[in-house]
């Protein structure tokens, strides 16, 4: 094609249109069609971390096999440290179809939830993601080992892992996410506000938390070199 002014102009317009389309779609992801009951109204037996009277109530839709979900755990830990007693986090299963071992990990975590050990188990599953996720066979034995390490009653755990009703509960939570237009993990909700991925959580999420707490927005941090890989990954790859 002969490069002339008309061609250049067409190219510029095309690129602007394509970029605009992406930014528009990302910015205007549809809001939930029917707001779900607030976290405060849910029974406490759910996967909830932090005090019930915490002013900040975050809901996380997460997938255990997703790298971003692992990466965001560091930020969540930092939030809990920075705002002690002010944050309540509710975990919701959102196993992605494309992650073939994810449902096994979610089932195991739900089985540990039945034994009151969800949080230590979820920490373990994320920490060891690079061990079980690349497995070529269903990582049931690896997940069982983690359960043992966390102190599970292995008889109960074994029975629970074969329980289809537990799987149904997991998919019911995923369906809840679908109704809230979740389509990527991790997705966080603070009220009706949504944050997708660690970057958004760092850039907008923390300031939204501070707003609820009546604190001024955090000044932008001086630009530091980007971490090459998420922190937990570094250790795991050694």
């Amino acid at each position: 094609m002969k490069i002339n002014l008309r061609s250049i102009l067409t190219g510029v317009l095309l690129v602007l249109f394509l970029d605009g389309a992406i930014f528009f779609i990302k910015r205007n992801k549809p809001a939930p069609s029917s707001p779900l009951p607030s976290v405060a109204g849910l029974p406490t037996a759910l996967k909830v971390r932090g005090p019930a009277n915490a002013p900040v109530k975050l809901v996380e839709f997460s997938d255990f096999e997703c790298p971003s979900c692992r990466a965001v755990q560091t930020d969540l830990q930092d939030f809990f440290k920075s705002y002690p007693g002010k944050i309540q986090l509710t975990f919701k299963h959102y196993p992605l179809t494309s992650h073939k071992w994810s449902i096994y990990a979610h089932q195991a975590a739900e089985c540990m939830n039945a034994q009151g050990k969800f949080w230590p188990y979820q920490d373990k599953v994320y920490e060891k993601q690079l061990e079980w996720a690349p497995s070529t066979v269903p990582p049931v034995e690896i997940l069982a080992r983690y359960a043992r390490e966390v102190g599970a009653d292995m008889d109960r755990f074994g029975k629970c892992m074969a329980d289809v009703a537990v799987t149904r509960e997991i998919y019911a939570e995923k369906e809840e996410g679908n109704k809230r237009q979740v389509n990527a993990t991790p997705t966080f909700f603070l009220g009706e506000e949504r944050f997708v991925g660690p970057k958004e959580m760092q850039e907008r999420g923390e300031n939204a938390i501070r707003k609820v707490l009546g604190l001024p927005p955090k000044p932008p941090a001086p630009k530091k070199p980007e971490p090459l890989v998420p922190a937990p990954l570094k250790g795991a790859l050694k």
Partner: protein, 157 residues
């Protein structure tokens, strides 16, 4: 264009649409997801230098999306086809080198993002990328692309 060439181009047109759509979809899905997902997907290959991963994770989806759209529309079709052929070939090299150096491949190729319905194993992508490279090179060698913006702009100038 004579009749025989037109007939040949029908097949190449399908190839152009296929190659464009594959990259458009791949780029779009990655752009819709948190960038860390693609970073994690690339880190799984182990041979990509970590220092490059954040930059590549931000740049590659845009290249895929823009040039995929360009190829479908037929804007700079030869250059777009060449760029996409180059990308396909680099994926072939990445998969092959990872297999040779580390002796293993990630369970998922990571090419279509984490949440995509299309999820291929590395060897499936290897086959597709070899095909894509050949299609891209053939399209890049073609001087005239009918049903394209390039042809439209040429007739108007």
């Amino acid at each position: 264009m004579i009749f025989g060439q037109e007939k040949t181009y029908r097949i190449l047109f399908l190839g152009r649409m296929f190659l464009g759509l594959v990259f458009l979809y791949s780029g779009f899905i990655k752009l819709m997801e948190p960038v860390e997902n693609f970073q994690g997907g690339m880190a799984a290959y182990e041979i990509i230098p970590y220092v490059l991963i954040p930059l590549l994770a931000r740049v590659i989806p845009w290249i895929e999306f823009i040039f995929g759209a360009f190829l479908i529309l037929g804007y700079l079709p030869r250059m777009s086809a060449l760029v996409l052929a180059g990308m396909s070939w680099s994926f072939v090299l990445l998969i092959a080198t990872t297999r040779i150096v580390t002796g293993a491949l990630p369970a998922n190729c990571g090419c279509f993002g984490e949440g995509s319905l299309l999820h291929l194993k590395p060897y499936q992508v290897l086959i597709m990328d070899v095909g894509n490279t050949l299609i891209g090179i053939r399209l890049a060698l073609l001087k005239i692309h009918p049903f394209s913006l390039a042809a439209f702009l040429k007739t108007k100038s």
